[in-house]
Amino acid sequence: MTYLAPRFAASLRCLSLGLAGVLAIACTTDDGSDGGDESEVITTVRLTFTPPGGGAAVTAAFTDPDGDGGVSGSSDPIALVLGTTYDLDLEFLDELQDPPEDITAEIEREAEAHQVFITGSAVEGPATTSDPTAPVLQSYADLESNYGANEVGDDLPVGLANTITARTAGTGRLTITLRHMPELNGQPQKTAGLAQMLASGASLPGQVDAAVDFELTVQ
């Protein structure tokens, strides 16, 4: 509402000019504060699978370097080693900016309003139905309190850090979905049991900030 006062003043100024017969060009409405180019875009989702005790990390990314529209985005295939348990860390970037902007830090800051859900035919985890044949087993490895004080509700998983166990050889789809669930009318939309709700086929609140597919192979 703060914008209203200067805008109204501008309109009065414009009005008086209009009455004076000086029309048009004088009546500009720029207010420099808006900018209009505020970044809120995710172009890149980067996955880093780190084996325990070091060793070469497996990385894969979905990128849509020109943003929505234009050329279609694409994702790298993921190859994991059977019998290995990985730490999976997620990063979300805006590469339309130069240098690229790391949105992960923003998500961490608002951990209580975000959650990552990992689904797809390659995965068994909290957000999927039970599927012992799925190549990997996923579990959350972080909590809201890892990123800051847990002020609202339960201390829930965020999903920026996960544990992935490559337990069965095979190939399937791995889908990473980041949901933004800010408080609505003072009530948290991010509540306990969302992953289980998703697994049971229910719709989740909030909105999708990212939903990208990868082809995952365990061998």
């Binding site: 914008y3 805008r7 309109s11 414009c14 009005l15 209009g18 009455l19 017969g21 029309l23 048009a24 009546c27 500009t28 409405t29 504060s33 808006d34 900018g35 209009g36 180019d37 505020e38 970044s39 809120e40 875009v41 995710i42 172009t43 890149t44 989702v45 979905f62 849509d64 020109d66 943003g67 929505d68 529209g69 234009g70 050329v71 279609s72 985005g73 694409s74 994702s75 339309l96 949105i103 923003e106 998500i107 800051r109 608002e110 979905t177 800010p182 609505l184 009318n185 939309q189 086929g201 719709s203 989740l204 609140p205 909030g206 909105q207 999708v208 900030d209 990212a210 939903a211 990208v212």
Partner: protein, 816 residues
């Protein structure tokens, strides 16, 4: 309320027995309200006007008669009426409190240019009843007009004969409205309180105002400026239960005896609403805040007049929380639920949070009119419009500004010469207008993603419109030529994306210093129209209109490149699109019997290279696009041949009551539109389904001082759209629905003022429904029941008694 057949030119003399009738309506010159209980005399006969201002005198001999209209508080009107057949007379009476010295001001309704299309005007009481409603909502009562409801609270755009947005031409005070009309969420930024009348011309083509009128033209005309000394005005106070809306508006008009010829007007209104409530849940975050302010000043000189006007429209409107960015799978899943996810947290509050739109629209205009000897008159108009739109999405807290910012600035100049009527033969006149328009427009877009490019364009047009009029027959024809050159500047990312996918030829553009492309596309088109009006029988007019109209592609149709907010679809333009050509024919029958008035109109529009937003084949090269929010289907603008046809019918049955007058009336409407994709033998999306309305009104006689009292009830049935292509839409059409409404109103004269009260109920059964032409239908139900209380005060303050100069009334024009 259809005002059928009024305002027609008077008929001329012919010998016949004394079986003719003279019928008509007396309305207040200032307010446009009907004047009941006025004594109408014609020769030895007399009759009083009924509550709706109507009168009828049967058994009149053909020939010239003196007609007088008297009522104690009005100036007596004296007129010559030429009677031949059943004759209609439209009388404007000036309230006596506005009497200006001793002259008698009689305004004979300015004979409007022949309208050979179906048209309907909202004015007077019919317009008063819409006060406090949005612009599109106010037009909903017109047969053949529906509303494309936006997902933001209370906003929408009119749909005329199945066409919306860029395919309807909106003229605000004679100036072509220029806003961001390409998004279906972009409602026209027009203040309905500024209107003294709103006319909908249904049918393709506009020789006078230029391209884009495929569905029709909406003319928003302000009431005339004051011509006599004094101050008058209107104040409105409207409260609506749903959304706890409050609206207040004030208009002041003045003229001073010491400054003869000068007149002024200031007006403004403020509206605030909390989120609307659907039967089962509030439509969270659909609150809105809007205001309008304007000032006009005019000078009426001898043989010329000038007018300056400025107005600003402001609106901040929240988008329903139920609109969410989803992956295509989650979108389909949410839709199947039938109610928004998390609706238990929804509330109805005044506070507007992200996502919301904030729009300002400034319109400044200067207009002059001068008589060119006896040859005719010349009208020149200059207008500047600045449409500034900010759209704010739901974002993380580090972001404060809008995600999309659009600024559209338009300068336009318009010159029209109306030549004096030329007598061709006895009783045969040639009248006409010729003119030219030049406009320059610049659009600046800022956003975090590509969507549409910035552009600058020049547009120019010339036209000639002539008509001949005889006693029973009028004919009008016109030709027009328009040229438009648009230079769009694509950013590097946009340019590379569009040339890379083969949708833009590198040859059409020159590279800019920063790696983008500057692409220049010219468009040229001619238009023509031919119309005939025949007064076939007594009380029966037949109108035929044939037209060929052009529309140039908009910038989004050429270059759209991005994801629409809230819809899981990637939209692409087509840079090779050409002019869209409509071949239209419409036939309208106006019939007015003693107790029955009807208007029936049928139309066919064949649209050559109709620019249509439809899905690319999913197995084609562009079919699907991987975005960061999932794999989206790709929709693109492509030309196809389409045919739209349909008809509207409106009737009013108002038998004479036992004590005179017409206390009971029944009115009804049917509006049907069909559309076919001729190229692919399919259907088109967003074509409104059949709509049927029936209403009953009782007008009670004057009791104590209460006048113009009425009570009415009516229902609207909207069919399910059965003609659709699921592939071109995101969900199947919703089922048919029925909504019930009722209204009552009365007027109370308080000295020089008139207080009008109205109470209206909408969706009284609290029906749960979704509307096919509403964006909300994919996410939530339409709002539930509402009560709307309206208080209007028309007031006049006597001017100084000192003599001023006599007003010049004879050349009055609707816009003055």
């Amino acid at each position: 309320m259809s005002v059928v057949g009024l305002g027609l030119a008077l008929q001329l003399l012919a010998p016949a027995p004394c079986t003719d009738s003279v019928a008509g309506r007396v309305v207040d010159e200032i307010t446009g309200q009907p004047v009941p209980a006025a004594l109408v005399r014609l020769g030895s006969q007399s009759v009083e006007t009924d509550a709706t201002g109507h009168f009828e005198l049967p058994g009149v001999c053909p020939g010239d008669h003196g007609l007088t209209v008297e009522r104690p508080d009005y100036q007596t009107v004296r007129r010559e009426v030429s009677v031949d057949g059943d004759t209609e007379v439209d009388v404007h009476a000036l309230p006596r409190e506005l009497e200006h010295e001793d002259h008698v001001l009689v305004k004979v309704a300015a004979a409007r240019a022949t309208e050979t299309r179906a048209s309907e005007t909202l004015e007077g009481e019919a317009l008063a009843r819409t006060r406090g409603k949005g612009f599109a909502e106010a037009l909903r009562g017109v047969a053949g007009v529906t509303v494309l409801r936006s997902s933001a609270g209370g906003l929408g755009k009119p749909v005329i004969r199945g066409q919306y947005g860029r395919r309807n031409l909106l003229l605000n005070d004679g100036v072509r409205h220029q806003g961001q009309e390409w998004g279906i969420d972009h409602a026209p930024e027009i203040d309905p309180f500024s209107a003294g009348s709103i006319t909908v011309l249904k049918g393709a083509g506009s020789i006078r105002y230029g391209p884009d009128a495929v569905g029709g033209v909406v003319l928003v005309e302000p009431p005339p400026l004051r011509r006599s000394a004094g101050v008058s005005g209107q104040a409105h106070l409207v409260g609506v239960s749903n959304g706890r809306q409050g609206i207040t508006a004030l208009r002041l008009d003045g003229a001073h005896a010491k400054l003869p010829g000068f007149a002024w007007r200031v007006e403004g209104n403020v509206a605030r609403a909390a989120a609307l409530v659907a039967p089962d849940y509030p439509l969270d975050n659909t609150g809105s805040l809007g205001w309008n302010a304007g000032a006009t000043t005019g000078y009426f000189g001898k043989g010329f007049d000038v007018r300056l006007s400025y107005r600003r429209f402001f609106q901040k409107a929240g988008l329903c929380t139920c609109l969410r960015n989803e992956s295509p799978e989650a979108f389909a899943q949410s839709f199947a639920l039938g109610a928004p996810v998390g609706a238990d947290l929804y509330t109805s509050e005044y506070r507007i949070e992200r996502a919301f739109q904030r729009v300002t629209h400034d319109l400044a205009s200067a207009r002059g009119r001068v008589a060119v000897g006896t040859a005719g008159e010349l009208t020149a108009t200059y207008a500047f419009q600045d449409n500034h739109r900010d759209e704010f999405a739901v974002v993380r807290q580090g972001v404060s500004g809008p995600q999309i910012e659009l600024d559209l600035r338009t300068h336009s100049g318009d010159l029209a010469f109306e030549h004096a009527p030329v007598p061709l033969a006895e009783g045969l006149w040639l009248e006409g207008t010729a003119g030219t328009t030049v406009a320059h427009q610049v659009n600046a877009f800022e956003g975090n993603q590509t969507l549409i490019p910035d552009y600058a364009q020049w547009w120019g047009g010339v036209f000639v419109l002539e008509r001949v009029a005889t006693e029973h027959f009028e004919m009008q024809w016109g030709v027009r030529y328009d040229g438009l050159t648009r230079t769009s500047t694509l950013s590097e990312r946009d340019y590379l994306g569009q040339t890379g996918t083969g949708r833009l030829e590198a040859d059409d553009c020159e590279r800019t210093a920063d790696g983008g492309g500057r692409c220049r596309f010219p468009f040229n088109a001619g238009s023509g129209s031919y119309g005939v009006l025949v007064r076939a029988l007594r009380g029966l007019d037949v109108r035929l209109d044939l037209t060929s109209a052009a529309r140039m592609p908009n910038v989004d149709e050429q270059f759209l490149n991005g994801v629409a907010p809230s819809f899981p679809v990637l939209g692409l333009g087509g840079s090779s699109l050409g002019v869209e050509r409509t071949w239209g024919a419409s036939l309208t029958l106006d019939q007015s019997h003693r107790w029955l008035a009807t208007e029936t109109s049928g139309f066919v529009n064949y649209i050559d290279d109709y620019i249509y937003f439809a899905p690319e084949p999913s197995d084609g090269p562009l079919g699907l696009n991987e975005t960061v929010r999932g794999t989206y289907p790709v929709f693109s603008f492509r030309p196809l041949d389409a045919v739209f046809y349909g008809f509207e019918h409106a009737f009013e049955i108002s038998p004479r009551g036992p004590k005179g007058g017409r206390p009971v009336s029944i009115d009804g409407q049917i509006g049907l539109v069909r559309a076919r994709d001729v190229t692919h033998r399919g259907f088109l999306v967003f074509v409104p389904p059949g709509r049927y309305r029936l209403g009953l009104t009782y007008r009670w006689p004057e009791v104590w001082k209460l006048r113009n009292g009425y009570v009415s009830a009516g229902g609207t049935f909207v069919d399910r759209q059965r003609r659709f292509e699921l592939e071109a839409d995101f969900a199947a059409p919703p089922p048919a629905y029925f909504v019930l409404g009722a209204a009552a109103g009365v007027e109370l004269p308080l000295g020089d003022q008139v207080l009008a009260l109205g109470l209206e109920g909408g969706n009284l059964t609290n029906a749960r429904y979704r509307e096919y032409t509403s964006l909300l239908r994919y996410f939530a139900d339409e709002p539930g029941w509402e009560l709307r209380l309206r208080l209007s005060l028309d007031f006049a303050m006597r001017g100084p008694a000192r003599a001023g100069r006599r007003s010049v009334a004879a050349r009055a024009r609707p816009w003055l």
